[in-house]
Amino acid sequence: MKYLAIQATNISKQYRLGEVGTGTISHDLNRFWHKIRGNEDPYLKIGEINDRSLTASREYVWSLKDINFNIEQGDAVGIIGRNGAGKSTLLKLLSKVTKPTTGSFKINGRIASLLEVGTGFNPEMTGRENIYLNGAILGMRRNEITRKFDEIVDFSGVEKYIDTPVKRYSSGMYVRLAFAVAAHLESEILIIDEVLAVGDSEFQKKCLGKMGDVSKGDGRTVLFVSHNLAAVQTLCNKGLVLENGLINYQGASKKALDFYVSSGNSSSSFYEVITKNNNDIHKIQIVDSNDNLRNNFNFNESIKLLFSFNLLSNYVDKVEFGFQVIDHRDRIVFSNNKKIASFLPDANNNFHVECIIPKSILVPNTYKITTALHIPNVSYISRLEEKVMFNIEETGTDFYQYSGADYGCVFIDCEWRNR
């Protein structure tokens, strides 16, 4: 049996919506009144689960609701979830920045948390002074920092500027120095929140490498929150999927990632016009190979597009149906058209067609789709611009090391050989 590093029991965190401060006195007094009579806090009951898409009808929301989990010593756990799922709240509770509303954590070992790089860096102070200040803020003793000073400077690669005030640093140097301090913390448990979203790719790789050493080599426990799924995949052996303040999946990181990718919000994978006119596009759907609505796909999954449109028979000969795939930089990646004559309509001149985008071509990114019924080089009959979108998630393609950089839109498996 492995020992536990963290045990979370019934963790909930409630936040107040809207303007904090208005009406607080009355609420506080009410709370106090309930407390002295030995009753439950009246405001703890009325919270709703955390779902941003619904308009909250109450003033309080649960950012986390009854979370239970165990983390074993030496595990590297990736915490994944969409924006607002409660990831950062969880890390904040674990790093003792704020306390849970209910429940408790049991912890074995010293926790070092890195919710931000360079917390407390002072621009007026030199790099050397900031290493000591930042180290102390993160809980290091002075002699501990002195012992590791050379190692830290070496890792950061800013040796030349170590006695210059950090306000003269470039933002990259600043981040390097800050991460270097944090990376040399000696703690049994390390909590990291998306700090790798900064710095150039070379440095990112270095950070990822360092974190890998921390979890695999030193046997320390790591909790890692990131949107960089590839980084989660490479660094973590366990995964925790949060959604709306609840744990949706807990298990091996590979399975957690698959779960996360396929559970995505599917509202933007479906579009239907309200009034269905003749000679018009009616519906667009993005589905996976099992015809389930999805808009998150793995790189090695094919994507199926379903279209429904109406076209009166006297046009069928001239008209084509087509779509464009547009990337997040508004570049048209490719377009594809088909003569309507090759499809069969139903009795009311409605066409239902599908098109499969082959797997392993579009690189991890977000893509929008524009569709059109048109007579080539003459005119549009109907057009729906960017109504649906899908993501190719980065789950460990060779591209992850360039994340953030523009490495093109498509993957071409070129042939290489010696000559």
Binding site: Y3, T98, I107, L133, G139
Partner: protein
């Protein structure tokens, strides 16, 4: 063989009122030193005249007080030189009011750093009190020069052995401003209006403290107000030691010490209660 699972720490949703971890604060003493050093460094690096500013403010204030309270209002200084009298009050008062103002807004001023990383929050107000000593030391130096001048050149004052109690007086004042500041800091995170009240309150408190006048010139029926103010004992004792005159009573210093101790304990308890969840309201 099965070994029992061990836990080193537990994070709970509620803490008992007196769960103050002094040991933890002590283990973070290096951070306290770094914060004080930061204050020191940033102060020097931002100004041209540096610590000169620390002299200008008390000198000008003293001159104005001499003109206003000494020459125009003709308040009694117990026969001591007006400059030395006012400067002694200003030096002490500056330290107290600065510590109180800064500690009372400590959560709001440092929300950015406290929202990202944990350290015993008590370190922050402590660092304010210690950093304040730096400025106080400089102004106190100025005061000593003035005292030496009046003792040996003018020969108009005679300091006595009570001078030696000064470190204790400073400790008392630091504890008082720390205690009061922590009580207010707990309230200002939630109710920001109190910040305005406090600025105003500190101004008023100066007039309820023997800064610009001597306690001897207070009519008997108002003296109870000054007895309530723990600062009275400190200021009177300080003046009695350095200026050799005044109406210092040892019992009032004892009373001040007890009151300040109570306020400090209440302050620490309240601060400890608030520090765990202030991030949600600040």
């Amino acid at each position: 063989m099965k070994i029992e699972q061990q836990w080193t720490e537990e994070i709970k949703s509620s803490n008992s009122l007196f769960s103050i971890n002094i040991k933890e604060v002590w283990s973070y003493r290096d951070l306290l030193i770094m914060f004080v050093k930061k204050e020191y460094i940033t102060f020097y690096k931002q100004t041209i005249l540096g610590p000169i500013w620390f002299f200008i403010q008390p000198i000008l204030t003293t001159l104005i007080y001499v003109l206003l309270f000494g020459q125009i209002a003709k308040l009694s200084t117990d026969g001591t030189p007006q400059i030395a009298f006012y400067l002694s009050g200003i030096t002490l008062w500056n330290y107290f009011s600065e510590c109180l103002t800064k500690t009372s807004s400590v959560f709001r001023d440092h929300a950015a750093i406290m929202g990202k990383v944990y350290f015993p929050r008590l370190i922050m107000p402590l660092s304010i009190v210690f950093s304040g000593l730096m400025k106080f030391a400089i102004q106190f130096g100025l005061f000593i020069v003035v005292i030496l001048y009046f003792t040996f050149i003018e020969e108009s004052i005679r300091p006595n052995v009570w001078v030696l109690i000064t470190p204790f007086l400073i400790l008392l004042m630091a504890s008082f401003s720390l205690g009061m500041g922590m009580i207010f800091s707990a309230l200002t995170t939630k109710y920001k209006d109190l910040v305005f009240l406090l600025t105003f309150g500190i101004q008023l408190l100066m007039y309820a403290t023997p800064v610009v006048y001597s306690i001897t010139s207070i009519p008997e029926k108002f003296k109870w107000i000054f007895k309530l103010n723990p600062l009275t004992g400190i200021f009177e004792c300080f003046r009695y030691g350095f200026l050799g005159k005044g109406s210092f009573e040892f019992s009032s210093l004892i009373m001040s010490t007890i009151n300040i101790l109570i306020i400090l304990i209440v302050g620490v308890v309240i601060f400890n209660k608030v520090e765990k969840s202030f991030m949600d309201t600040v």
